[in-house]
Every structure is written in C-alpha cells, then in structure tokens.
Amino acid sequence: MAYEMDFGPVLANTDVLLQGAMFTLGLTAIGTLLGVGLGIAGALVRAWRIRPFNYLFGLYVELIRNTPFIVQLFFIFFGLPALGLRLNEWEAAVLAMVINLGAYSTEIIRAGVQAVPPGQIEAASALAMTRMEIFRHVVLRPALAKVWPALSSQIIIVMLGSAVCSQISTEELTFAANFIQSRNFRAFETYLATTLLYLAMAILIRQLLGWIGRRYVVGAR
C-alpha cells in the first residue's frame, strides 16, 4: 500500500502558499519592529528600576511569559469583543505577536543592559554626554550586541509561532497550507512544501538578522 506522491495539486496552489508566506513575513516584520521596541523600553524601565513602570512591566512579563500564545491570541480575538474592543484577525495577530515578543525581548535585553558596567556609564557622564547619548551609545548598543543571538532566536520563534494565528482565520502560511490540504487532501505533499518554506524563511531571517547585527549592532562599536 505505497503512498503515491502527487505534488501537482500543491504546485497548482503555489500562489496561495507564496501569498501566505508573504503575509507571515509581513506579520513577523511588524511584530518584530514593535515588539523589540517594546522590549527595549521594558528592559530600560526594568533594569533602571523606573517606578512605577518597572512593576507594571514586571507584571506584564510574568503574565505573557507564563501563558500560552494561543490563549493570548484567542483572548484578544474572541474575548475582547465582549469588552467592546473588536480587532480584526490581522490586528489581533499583530497585537498578540507584539505583546508576546515584547515580553520575551524585555527580559533578553534587560540581561544585556544589566551587563553594562556602571563604570562605563559614569565614564560617559564624566565626558559630558547627554542622557540620550549615554543611552544610545553606551548602554543600548553594547547591550544589544551582547544579546543579539538570543534576540535573533526569539524573533525566529515568533515567526514560527505565528502559525498559530491561522486559528483565528489570519491567512498566513499555515492557514494557506491547511486550506490547500482541506481541498485536495494531499497532507504529506502540502505540509512538506510548507515545512520547506518555513525553513527557508527562518534561514533567511537568521541571515538577515546576522547581517544587521554585524553591520549595525556588533560591528560598528
């Protein structure tokens, strides 16, 4: 009872798959930009103990890191309308990804910020650098340089985790795969193609982040 491979029905839907992949990349790009931004803010507030925000961020980080992503997503999409906040599937997906990555990157970047020796900041003040300059050049950049590999991994995890957004009818790559599979029942071929696409996207993002890291974060000290 050998399984007969037939990639025809999958290849016929290449455009659907590629469109799904584009949406996944778009979701990841927006989620990463906003999420890492949130993470930087959170890391500073937490590392420098700026009250009362450090407590709020602490609560937020614990809440998000200790609950499943799919539950957060369902809460935003199916739950919030009960409170009058109705987000469509894209808004809900982006919001869920941003708050999720925001929480994880807060902790990752905080580790980097706390690893900056206090003497380095004092030296910068002694050189009459403004607070903003100290923050940008003396704290953030070395901090990001230290945690860049961990942060890159977290971004990849968020990209792969966006597959879950298919559950609220967000038409990203996994949604496209499920859709094609439900029409032609070619599960092996469809998910093989999808797996390869995710793999290619993950490698692409890793290379891109590696390049950004070398060019702008780690290298240009």
């Binding site: 999409f77 199916f78 739950g79 309308p81 009960a82 109705r86 469509n88 599937e89 298919s166 559950q167 609220i168 009818s169 949604f175 499920n178 859709f179 599979q181 439900s182 029409r183």
Partner: protein, 261 residues
C-alpha cells in the same frame, strides 16, 4: 487450489445472502405479532441521538422511533449504531427500521428503501434577525465564518460572490465563537450546529438566511416491504398533520419543521 478456494467462498457468500434474505422477510405482520419494533438509532450524533445523563439514549431519532412504535402499538427496542454500520444492521435483519439521521442518496437507494422525510437536515447561511440577506448576491460585502474543509465550505465557496469574505476556522467551536463574539456578520453551518448554539446562547440565536444544501433525514427500511413502508409513511404523514413531528423538531432542533418537508 485457488479455484476451489474461490468456489468455496462463493458458496459461502451465497449461503450468507440466502440466510440474511430469509431473516429480512420480516414485515409489518411479524412486527405486530412479535409486539416489538426493533430500531437502529445513533448514540454519537446529538441532537439526533446521544446518551443522556441517565445513560439512556435520547434525541430526535429516539423520539421519532418511539412515535413509530406507539402508533404501531408495539414496544420499542433500540439498537445503538454508528454511521458506518447502520445500513448493515438493517440489511442483515438485526433491526426492522433505521431511524438514524439517514440521508438519501442513489448508492443507498440501491440497497435499502426510504420512507418520507421526518426531520430537516440542511446547511445554510445564518445570521441575526435584522440582517438583510435573501440571495447569494446579498452576501457581497459581508463576512461569514465557516469551518474549513466542511461541506458548507465547499458549497459556499463555489457560489459566494467576489465581495464576500469567508473567514475559515479550524472547527465548529471557533466558527461559532467568531459569530457569537461579533467578529463576523454571518455564519455558514448546519442546522444541527445551530441547535447547539441555541442550547448554549439562546439570546443571539441566528436565523436561516440562505439554504446551501438540503439533505433531510429518512427512515430506512429493507427493500420489498410495501406494507411496512406504507405504514411508516402513514404514521409520518399523520404526525406532520397533528404537529407531533413539529414538536420533536422544536424540542431537539429548536426550529419548526420546514413547510416543504
């Protein structure tokens, strides 16, 4: 060797066919003489048939079977079946009738006979009372939640206008949740799922806007049993007249019996 095995098998099959042929010679007379009507009902398909909290079968099909037995003035003996074995149970003479949310199709009609329809079973687009939808074209600009890969997905995808947005979810529960939380305007599903919504959230009960596919349920019975078929049809017709089938539909499906059934 192969040949003799084959002829042995053929003989065996013939024997079984003859024996089962004898068994299904049962007709209306036998049922009345026996005083027992044996009916196959589902136990895994609410609201048509499921096992109640008291471990007794309950549901629309069970009530219909009871109605048939009462009108024939015999006792009812239920046999729980599933959708794959319900027809074999009938053709091998283990039951007299199948009242098991059975739909009619040509393949089945070659094997068994069907009575008149006794309950509605359809797929449709449902929405709030005030939604103005009376034809497929009215779906333009609307968002509709639908369970991916379901029969209604296939049906609606084929006819929905360009401007309609189908939001496909993994399972019926998500499809329902999307509708109940107001994420979509309409919901495409079956009347059975609608009954489940009615049970949980009767305040926002959607009403049917479009019928996508109609497949009412029939009582199945063995071929060449004109007396039994006639009796079953008479009972169903009378029950439609006096409203007892409508009561059963209201009770289990939360919807009146459609006029054209």
């Amino acid at each position: 060797m192969l040949n003799s095995t084959r002829s042995l098998l053929t003989a065996l099959c013939l024997g079984i066919a003859l024996a089962s042929g004898a068994a299904i010679a049962d007709n209306l007379e036998d049922i009345t003489k026996r005083g027992v009507l044996k009916v196959a009902v589902p136990q895994d398909f609410p609201p048509f048939g499921s096992v109640g909290p008291d471990m007794q079968p309950r549901g629309l099909d069970i009530d219909t079977a009871q109605l048939l037995a009462d009108k024939m003035d015999v006792k009812l003996e239920l046999t729980a079946v599933n959708s794959t074995n319900r027809i074999p149970f009938l053709t091998t003479g283990k039951v007299d009738l199948v009242v098991s949310s059975l739909g009619k199709n040509p393949e089945r009609e070659q094997v068994i006979d069907f009575s008149d329809a006794y309950a509605p079973f359809y797929l449709g687009v449902f929405g709030p009372e005030e939604a103005q939808v009376s034809s497929v074209d009215d779906l333009d600009g609307k968002t509709i939640s639908i369970t991916r890969g379901s029969v209604e997905d296939i049906e609606l995808s084929a006819v929905a206008p360009e401007g309609a947005t189908l939001k496909r979810f993994e399972d019926n529960n998500s499809t329902i949740a999307a509708y109940l939380s107001g994420q979509v305007d309409l919901i495409a599903t079956g009347n059975v799922v609608m009954a489940a919504i009615a049970e949980r959230n009767p305040k926002r009960l959607p009403v049917m806007k479009l019928n996508l596919k109609n497949s009412p349920t029939y009582v199945g019975l063995n071929k060449d049993q004109p007396a039994l078929l006639k009796k079953v049809n008479e009972i169903i017709a009378a029950a439609k007249q006096d409203g007892s089938l409508n009561d059963i539909s209201e009770k289990w499906l939360r919807q009146p019996l459609p006029a054209g059934l």
